[in-house]
Symmetry: C2
Subunit: 355 residues, 2 copies
C-alpha cells in the first residue's frame, strides 16, 4: 500500500528520541529532563483552571503567553513566537528560513533532529566538523548564505560557545539566518546577559533564538517552546505556522507556561540546585576515572579512561539506570548523562561502583 | 529582511480562522464550538493531575490515548494516529499522502484550510464543483490518482454524504488516498455505524478518517484530534510526525482526552442536546424567512429570502452576535451559524428580530 504514500515518505529517517517510560524503579538520566517538579505556581493554576473553558478554541497567536515571554526577556511582542515544544518551532524555522539555494551549515555533532528536518523539507546541508576539543570554530561559518544552526550549549557536547564568538559568527554571515537553539542555556553558570544570544538580538537581525520550557522549567510534559528574533524572522514563522495549524498551543499549556514565568525565585533556586548537583557529579565521576567535557547544560558528556562507553551503558541499563549512548563517529566512547536529583545521581554512582 | 526567508514563504496565504475572544458579552456562534462544557470526568482528571509529572516527556506515540481510541472504535492500535488537533493531522496527511504526480481533488466548497496546506507543501490541486444543491457528486472523483479530500458532513455546507456514496467513491479511486474529515460527524442524527466512513475502514485500505475532540467533545481548547486508517496510511503519518515533532500531544491533553472517552453517557446526552437545539433553531429561522441546508453538523448554513447575508452579518456583529460570513462565490448570500445553547440561540433570534 505504500504506493499511496508521497514519494519522499519512503526515504524519511525519523528522529528517535531517548526512551520514555520504564516505570518507577528506573533511574532515568537519558533525556535531560529536570529532576525537580515545576513551580508550585503551576500546580496552583492547574488546580484553579476551569475545564469548562476548554470548550472554546485557545488564542490562535497565544497572545497572553507571547506577552509574558516578551516582558520576561525585555523584548517586543513582535519578537516572540511560541509553539508546541521547541521541536515544532525548529521544524517551522527550517521550513521558513533554510529552504535556500545554498546548503545549511551545522556542526557534525549537534542535535540529531537537524538532518531529519532537512530530509523532511528537502534542504541541502553540510556538516562542519567541530574542532578536536569539540568546539565550534566560528571562522568555518563565515560567508554562509544558506543558513546556520547549532545548539548552544551544544548537545550532546554540553559546551558553550562564548557570546563574543556568537557575535563574530552572526556578523560574518549577514546573508544567512542563524538559528541558535538555546534549549540548555539556563544551565550555563554565567548570567543570561553574558551567555545567551538574546543580548545580540537588537544588533543582529539575522538571529533567531529558540528556547524550551522542557528542561530548566521542568515542563517537558507540557510541550511549550518559544523563539525570539527580529520581527521579519518571527513573521516568517507565523506565516508557516498559520499555513499548518492555527492553534498549536492549547489553553492549559499556555496558562501553565505563564505560571512558570511568574515564579522567578523558584526558577533560579531549581537552576542553582541543578548546577550544584552537576558540580558534585562531575567530581564524583572524575574520581571514578571519567573525564567530562566542561558542561554548561543539565547533562554531562563523559568518557572513561579505560572502559568502553557501550559496555558501561549496557551495564547501567541492566541495573535500571538509563543514560544515553550515541553510536556515532567521534563520540562512540562517550556517554551523555543527565544531571539528576541527589538520589538519582547517587544511584548512578552506586551502579558504576558495582560494574 | 525577507531575503532571509525561504522563497515559498512570500507566497503563502495563511488560513484565517474565525475570530476568537470578544469577551463575556459576545454571543459567539462563529467557530462551531460546543455550547456545553466537557464531561465532569475531564474536570475530575484535571483536578487529580499531578503537575510534578510534567517534568517528564509525554509518551512519544501517545500510547494510552491511542489504545483508548482504538478500543472506543473497535479498531487495532495500528489503525490509530493522534495529533495536536485534527488540523495538525490534516497537515501531516497532506504532506504524507498528497504530494503526488497528479492533482489532489476536493470540492469547490469545503474546509478552506485545504488549499492552504497545498500551498505549504507545493501540492497541485483541482477543485471539483459541488452540484447545484451543494452535494458531492461521487462520479466526479472516479479514477483519481492524486488523492481526494473533503469534510463529511461538509463544511460550510453542513451536508452529509451518505455512507453508500462514500463506499462508491472509495471503490472508484483505489489508487488514491481518500481523506474523509469527520470533524462534525457526531452531529449526524444517524447512528455512527450508518453515517461514518469508519464502517468502511476494514474494506477500504485507501481510506483515512480524521476526527477532532474540539466539537462534539467540547475540547477545542485542548487541541487533540485523531486519524483512523489502514496500518499503511497510519505508518505514513507516523513517519512524517516523527520527522517533525516527537511529542505533539502533551501529557495533560492526553489524560483529559482519555477522560472524555470514559464518559459515553455524557457525550451522548450533550450530542442530543445539540441536535434538539439545532432542530429548534432551524424552525425558528425558517419562521423568520430563512432557508437552511439540511444540517448534519453543529452549525447551520442559511440564507434569507430577501435580505443580503453580508448586511445581516454586520447587523448581528454590531449587536455582539458573532456568526461566520464567507465572501466566496456561490455562498456569498449564506451565513454559517453555530448551534449554541438555548440562551445563545434565543439571543441570536432576538437580535434578528430587531434588525
Amino acid at each position: 500500500m505504500s504506493q499511496l504514500w508521497s514519494q519522499f515518505v519512503r526515504e524519511l529517517k525519523p528522529y528517535v528520541p531517548g526512551a520514555q517510560g520504564g516505570g518507577e524503579q528506573v533511574v532515568k538520566l537519558n533525556t535531560n529532563e529536570n529532576p525537580y517538579p515545576p513551580s508550585p505556581r503551576v500546580t496552583e493554576v492547574l488546580r484553579d483552571f476551569n475545564a469548562g473553558d476548554l470548550r472554546l478554541y485557545p488564542q490562535p497567536e497565544s497572545d497572553d503567553l507571547v506577552k509574558t515571554i516578551a516582558r520576561y526577556h525585555g523584548l517586543n511582542t513582535d519578537q516572540v513566537f511560541v509553539g508546541n515544544g521547541s521541536d515544532e518551532i525548529l521544524a517551522h524555522a527550517f521550513n521558513a528560513l533554510f529552504r535556500r539555494n545554498s546548503p545549511l551549515l551545522f556542526p557534525d555533532l549537534t542535535y540529531s533532529f537537524y538532518p531529519v528536518y532537512c530530509k523532511l523539507f528537502d534542504i541541502a546541508y553540510k556538516k562542519v566538523a567541530l574542532d578536536a576539543s569539540f568546539q565550534i570554530n566560528v571562522a568555518d561559518y563565515a560567508g554562509a548564505t544558506g543558513g546556520i544552526v547549532f545548539a548552544n550549549p551544544n548537545a550532546p557536547t554540553s559546551l558553550l560557545l562564548a557570546q563574543h564568538a556568537l557575535r563574530d559568527l552572526l556578523a560574518s554571515a549577514p546573508d544567512s539566518a542563524v538559528l541558535v537553539d538555546e534549549a540548555y542555556i539556563d544551565f550555563s553558570s554565567a548570567p543570561e546577559s553574558r551567555a545567551s544570544a538574546i543580548a545580540l538580538l537588537n544588533e543582529c537581525s539575522n538571529l533567531l533564538v529558540t528556547r524550551t520550557l522542557s528542561k530548566s522549567r521542568s515542563l517537558a510534559g507540557l510541550r511549550v517552546g518559544y523563539a525570539l528574533g527580529s520581527p521579519e524572522l518571527i513573521e516568517a514563522l507565523r506565516r508557516v505556522k498559520n499555513s499548518f495549524n492555527s492553534y498549536p498551543v492549547d489553553a492549559l499549556a499556555s496558562a501553565l507556561a505563564i505560571a512558570s514565568f511568574e515564579d522567578e525565585e523558584y526558577f533560579q533556586a531549581m537552576r542553582q540546585r541543578v548546577l550544584a548537583e552537576r558540580a558534585r557529579l562531575v567530581d564524583a565521576l572524575r574520581a571514578r576515572g571519567f573525564e567530562a567535557l566542561d558542561s554548561a547544560a543539565n547533562f554531562l558528556m563523559v568518557r572513561h579512561s579505560s572502559k568502553k562507553a557501550r559496555g558501561i551503558y549496557q551495564g547501567l541499563h541492566a541495573k535500571d539506570v538509563w543514560v544515553r549512548y550515541f553510536d556515532l563517529p567521534r563520540i562512540e566512547n562517550y556517554l551523555r548523562i543527565s544531571v539528576g536529583s541527589a538520589e538519582q545521581n547517587d544511584a548512578l554512582l552506586d551502579a558504576l561502583d558495582t560494574l
